[in-house]
Structure formats: structure tokens, C-alpha cells
Amino acid sequence: MSSGKSGRRRRSSSIIYQEPPESVEQISDQAANPNLNSQWVNAKGAWTIHPVIILGLKILFDVMPGMTQEISWTLTNITYMTGSYLMFHWVRGVPFEFNAGAYDHLNMWEQIDNGDQYTPAKKFLLTVPIVLFLLSTHYTHYDLTYFIINFLALMAVVIPKLPFAHRMRFAPFSGAPPDD
């Protein structure tokens, strides 16, 4: 692997490090097949499903007995944000065996649109949690605790989506880097 140009190199001791650029083998394995793991975010219906899921969650929490609007919106928020965080930022690699593990080091957000930033899909996926948060603060009378919980949940999915966090790893969240 020849690099050094693109910012921080990974070192076992550092808390923050950046995934180094791919080797020739990795690049050719990545190009061997289309990335079915991330391609679907641009597919038909992949955008509609987000509002549908959110609405479903809201209804589910609303029908529970003794539910207040604050708790119901907070639960909806947290459920959606957790799911989104796990899917886009926590799990790495591809669940199928079609490119010899060439994406094992990247999470799904970094795989989407081949790593390009500000693509339509990424813009949509970043806007959805923000809109959800604004809606929830609008329809409820959060006290400070609720507001902070919801806001932190939002930040957890917004910050890793920002271009600066591309291929960036924080040791507390992703473990010590493999050294090779």
C-alpha cells in the first residue's frame, strides 16, 4: 500500500485514524461486481420506505396504552436513529460473498455511491432524520431531558454522515485498528 497523502495514517496507538487507501487487489476486487449492498439506496421505493417506516413506528408507539406524545415521538426518533446508525455506520463489509471481502473495512455509508459525497441519495438520507427531529419538537412540549436525548440521537446519525467523517475511525466506536 503506497500512500501518506490523504491525511492520517492508521497507527495502533491513535484514537482517531483514517482507513488507508485500497491496495490494487482491493480496488480490482471491488470493481469485479456491482456493490449490491449499497446500490439499492438508489432503487425505486428505497426512499419511500423511510417515511413509511417512521409512520409505522409512530402508530405502533401511539397505540400503546398510557402513551404520551413526548414519549411516543422520542421512541420513534430513537428507534429510527438506532436502526439507521446500525445499518449505515456500524456494520462494515458486505453480507454476501461476491467480491472476496474487498469492502470489509468500509461501512455502508462509505460504500454508497462509491464513496462520492453530496449525492442525491446521501442528501435524502441526511435530511430524513433532521426533518423527523424538527417534526417531533414541533408537535411536543419536550422538557430539557427529552430535548437533549432526541438531539443527541440526531447527532449520532448526522455527524458520521458528514464528509469529514468519511473513512474516519474513532477507536472507542470501532476498536483498535488492525496493523499490517
Binding site: G115, D116, Q117, Y118, K123, T127, T137, F151, P163, R167
Partner: protein
């Protein structure tokens, strides 16, 4: 005081103007459709909490900025070129030759290369009409001139045709393939076996079938080219240990084991080594490797391409030679092309190991199956090895005679092969290399001259021609092959003929090494 009252009056005037202006703006605003909704929204959102509203406003501004940003690629080295620049680059481009210019050494090599006309055998006829003693073919048991085998092969050809014209999983498997698989498994004492259509692609296909990116392979530094390709294709993390240095192997295994324990990661782990090494001719210490693999919980892939059919009392390979149960080795790879005089390769192991390969090994799933006549020939030769142990004994006898002619009696060269190995690999003695300050190129030149001299004297031997041992992507060789010639023994020669050939080779070496320069 006058100035102060003036100032107050001016301020009053200004505030009246401002109020008027604000009033007008608000009236205009109320005329915009939907403004009432917006106002109601802001009022109800505000909820008497300015900090919260500021946070929300910032979020909205951030989202709008994100939505308006321009798309860009994060891949390095993407440059947008104009049409003219593209044309310029295309015009400037001169293709590199597909085949590099041959060097003077390669030219000489090509010019002097011996060409055999007609069938190979212990005595072969060259294109220039000369009959030479052929010690350059892997014709150990002289099965190429066995009439019974030829007859069987022809019979099979008439019954089955030439090739099965399909991969084994797609109508390519014939009864003879299943028979040879069963034969090899029974011969070696494993539970199952799978055959490949080509010996070379066996190792480079079996290794990637099991070991993937992130998995760990520990390999001997001197392993052959096929294994190297397998290691490369598998994308695994490869650690090397010094050739036949089992203390070094233990060091590498212990280090890996500790690393993985510390990090709490669990991957597939393999040790890869050869039985008889293709490029050095020496033999693995299998009991030691087995002991280490059990101790550190690795799996063992053993390439017996050159030892299967050669080592052991009945030719079962390293396992028989060193009294190890073949079931202790996870995967035994072998060839039916060399000693068995057929074609193809095999991998023997447990049922799971073999069944996994039927869908996951590239050479098995995508290559046409082995021709039936090769499968039948291999079955026949296996039977011959078991029923006629004297053919192995007579080969060993010939090796011994040749060994006596060369190794202890030559002042210049030494044989690195194991005493049972019919491929005798001769390299310059270390003291010769150091006292004469021979570079690798010097050694290759001298070896070529020795080969040429032997050919003039009627003995065909060959120089070992290796490809670089560097793994792909590495800048330095992890292992430097020593320049060598190889003498391939066969039992098709009488004691006298072997002695004569040995003397010829020895004298050729002496002649080249002692001549005046």
C-alpha cells in the same frame, strides 16, 4: 441641551419611520398566501424557548447548506480532462511491446534449446538426429514406454472420447473420475478426494477456496509458483517462515496466536508447505509441522505435487515416508502428471474439505473435467505402484548410483535434494560461490555452459528456470532461489548407463569450472 432635544426628536422621527416600515412589511407579508400558516407554525414551534428555536434554525440552515452542496468524488486521482487533453494523451501514447526484447542470455538459451523429436523416454532423439540420455523429463518409472498403459489409454479413448467437454459439476463427471477419486483416497488413507483437470491449478485453486481476505496463511518461503499464485488470489494475510526452519515456524505461529488472542479475533488459519520442494528438492519435516499445527490450532495444506508417487515404500508420499497418518493433514494436494504419467491434480482430505471444493474451488467449477484416458491411466499406475514395489526400488537404486557419481565426488556442486528424490537439484557449493565471487548471473551462465557441455556429451539435463519469488506487491524478494541444474532420474536406464551419465555430468562440471578464462 438643545442638541439633546434635537437628538430625541430625530430618534422619534426615526422610530416612527421604522414602525411605519415594519407595519407595511407585515401588511405585505400577510398578503402572501400561506403566510398565516407559517406564522402559526413559528409561534407554536417557538414555545417560549429561544435557545431551542435557535438550535432548530441552525439545523434547518445546515440541512439547506447540505442539500445545496455540489457532488464530488472522494476517490484519489480522479482528474477531469478536456477533449483536447484526451486527444493529446492518446497521440502521445506509444504502446509498450507485448513481449520484452530478449536479452543476450535468453537468445543463447533459445538457440541451444534441445528439441525432442518423437516420444520422450530414457533415450530420446533430438531434432539434430542425435540420440541422448534424457535426464530432463519427469519420467521416473519410465511409464511413458509402458505398452500396457498405452493399450488401456487407447481403449478408454475409444469408449469415452477425448474430453468430457464440461466442468465436473456440469455433465463433466464420468464414472472413471469417481473411480480415480476413490482410488486416491483409498491409496492415501483419507476419507475423500477431489480431482482437478490440471496439476498446476490445483494449489492455486484449493487455497483460495478455503482462505479468504482477513484469514491468515503461514507459508514456507520456498514454496512453488502455483502455491504463490494461490496465496495471492486468496487475498489472505500471508506470513512467511524460513525454508524448513521449524523453530522459525513456531515463532511465527506463536506470534500470530498471541496477536489474535490479544485482539480477540478468530479467523481461519492455515500452514502451507510442500512435501518435496519443487525448487530445492528437500523434504518437509511433517511430524514437526503436525505437532505445531495441533499446538497452535492451524490447518495444514500440504502440497505433495513432487512427493506423491515418489516417497514412501509404495509411493504414498511424505505421510508414508515419515510415518504420519494422512488424516492428520487437513488437505493433501498432489499431481497425477509427474510420477503417475497421467494428468491432473487432486486434493485429498475429509469429506467436508472435499465437498466444500465441489462448489468453491474455481478450477473445479469452471474448468473442463479431466480427459477420461488420463483418469484411467492414473488409476492404472496407482495399482502398479501398489502391486509392483520393485519399480520404486529400482528407481531408488538408480538415484543412489547417480548420487554417488555426483554429490560426494564433485568439488564444485552439491545436491540439495532429499536422497529419495528422483529430481536431483545441483547447486554450486557455498565456498565456490564465495571464493570466486560468483553473482547470480555468473552462476546462471556457468550452469548453462554445463548443460550445453552435457548435451554435447549425449546427456540431456536442464537448468531450473524459476520466476521471481516475490509475492505480488512486495518490492523485495522474500526468498532468493539458488541457481541450479536438475537431473531427473528414471528407472529406464541400466546401472552402467546411469554411471556413465553421472560421470559425464561430473566431468562436464569439472571441465567448465577448471577451464582457463
Amino acid at each position: 441641551m438643545a442638541s439633546s432635544s434635537n437628538f430625541t426628536a430625530a430618534a422619534d422621527l426615526l422610530s416612527t419611520h421604522t414602525l411605519n416600515l415594519l407595519h407595511t412589511v407585515s401588511e405585505q407579508f400577510h398578503k402572501i398566501p400561506g403566510s398565516a400558516i407559517l406564522l402559526r407554525y413559528i409561534r407554536s414551534s417557538y414555545q417560549n424557548d429561544p435557545i431551542r428555536s435557535v438550535v432548530e434554525l441552525l439545523l434547518v440552515i445546515f440541512a439547506i447548506r447540505y442539500l445545496l452542496a455540489r457532488e464530488y468524488s472522494t476517490k484519489p486521482g480522479k482528474v477531469k480532462l478536456s477533449e483536447e487533453e484526451i486527444d493529446d494523451l492518446v497521440d502521445e501514447w506509444t504502446p509498450e511491446p507485448l513481449v520484452a526484447q530478449t536479452t543476450a542470455f535468453e537468445d543463447a538459451d533459445l538457440e541451444k534449446r534441445a528439441i525432442i523429436v518423437g516420444p520422450t523416454g530414457p533415450k530420446s532423439r533430438l531434432a539434430n538426429g542425435k540420440v541422448v540420455t534424457n535426464l530432463a523429463s519427469y519420467n521416473f518409472y519410465n511409464l511413458v514406454s509402458n505398452e500396457q498403459l498405452k493399450e488401456r489409454a487407447i481403449q478408454t479413448l475409444r469408449t469415452y472420447g477425448v474430453g468430457p467437454c464440461g466442468p465436473p459439476g456440469f455433465y463433466g463427471t464420468q464414472d472413471v473420475h469417481m473411480k480415480i477419486e476413490a482410488d486416491i483416497a483409498a491409496f492415501l488413507g483419507t476419507t475423500a478426494c477431489i480431482i482437478y483437470a490440471q496439476a498446476f491449478s490445483t494449489a492455486s485453486s484449493v487455497i483460495p477456496a478455503f482462505s479468504k481476505r482477513g484469514d491468515i496463511i503461514v507459508a514456507d518461503k520456498a514454496v512453488n509458483y502455483s502455491i504463490r499464485k494461490g496465496l495471492q488470489i486468496s487475498r489472505s494475510t500471508v506470513r512467511w517462515f524460513d525454508h524448513r526452519d521449524y523453530a522459525d515456524l513456531e515463532r511465527v505461529l506463536a506470534k500470530l496466536d498471541k496477536e489474535q488472542r490479544d485482539k480477540g479475533i478468530l479467523t481461519r488459519r492455515f500452514i502451507v508447505t510442500e512435501g518435496l520442494f519443487e525448487n530445492t528438492g528437500d523434504v518437509v519435516d511433517l511430524p514437526k509441522v503436525i505437532e505445531l499445527k495441533l499446538k497452535y490450532k492451524f490447518r495444514l495444506i500440504l502440497d505433495e505435487t513432487w512427493s506423491f508417487g515418489v516417497l514412501g515404500r509404495t509411493g504414498r508420499g511424505v505421510t508414508e515416508h515419515q510415518h504420519v497418518d494422512a488424516a492428520e493433514v487437513d488437505m493433501i494436494l498432489g499431481s497425477m502428471a509427474g510420477p503417475l504419467s497421467a494428468a491432473g491434480g487432486f486434493c485429498a482430505g475429509s469429506d467436508e474439505v472435499v465437498e466444500h471444493q465441489r462448489l468453491s474451488a474455481a478450477a473445479y467449477t469452471f474448468s473442463a473435467a479431466l480427459p477420461a484416458m488420463s483418469a484411467v491411466t492414473a488409476s492404472e499406475t496407482l495399482t502398479m505402484l501398489q502391486t509392483q514395489p520393485d519399480i520404486i526400488a529400482s528407481l531408488r537404486e538408480n538415484i543412489k548410483i547417480m548420487w554417488q557419481q555426483l554429490d560426494p565426488r564433485s568439488d564444485w556442486m552439491v545436491c540439495t535434494s532429499a536422497p529419495e528424490n528422483p529430481i536431483m537439484i545441483l547447486v554450486f557449493k557455498q565456498e565456490v560461490v564465495s571464493s570466486r565471487r560468483l553473482t547470480v548471473a555468473d552462476q546462471l551462465g556457468l550452469l548453462q555452459e554445463i548443460v550445453d557441455e552435457c548435451l554435447t556429451q549425449g546427456v540431456l539435463i536442464t537448468r531450473i528456470k524459476t520466476l521471481s519469488a516475490a509475492p505480488s506487491g512486495s518490492k523485495t524478494d522474500i526468498y532468493a532461489h539458488r541457481p541450479a541444474v536438475k537431473v531427473c532420474m528414471t528407472n529406464g536406464l541400466s546401472r552402467k548407463e546411469v554411471e556413465k551419465a553421472g560421470t559425464t555430468i561430473r566431468h562436464a562440471i569439472t571441465k567448465i569450472m577448471t577451464r582457463k578464462r
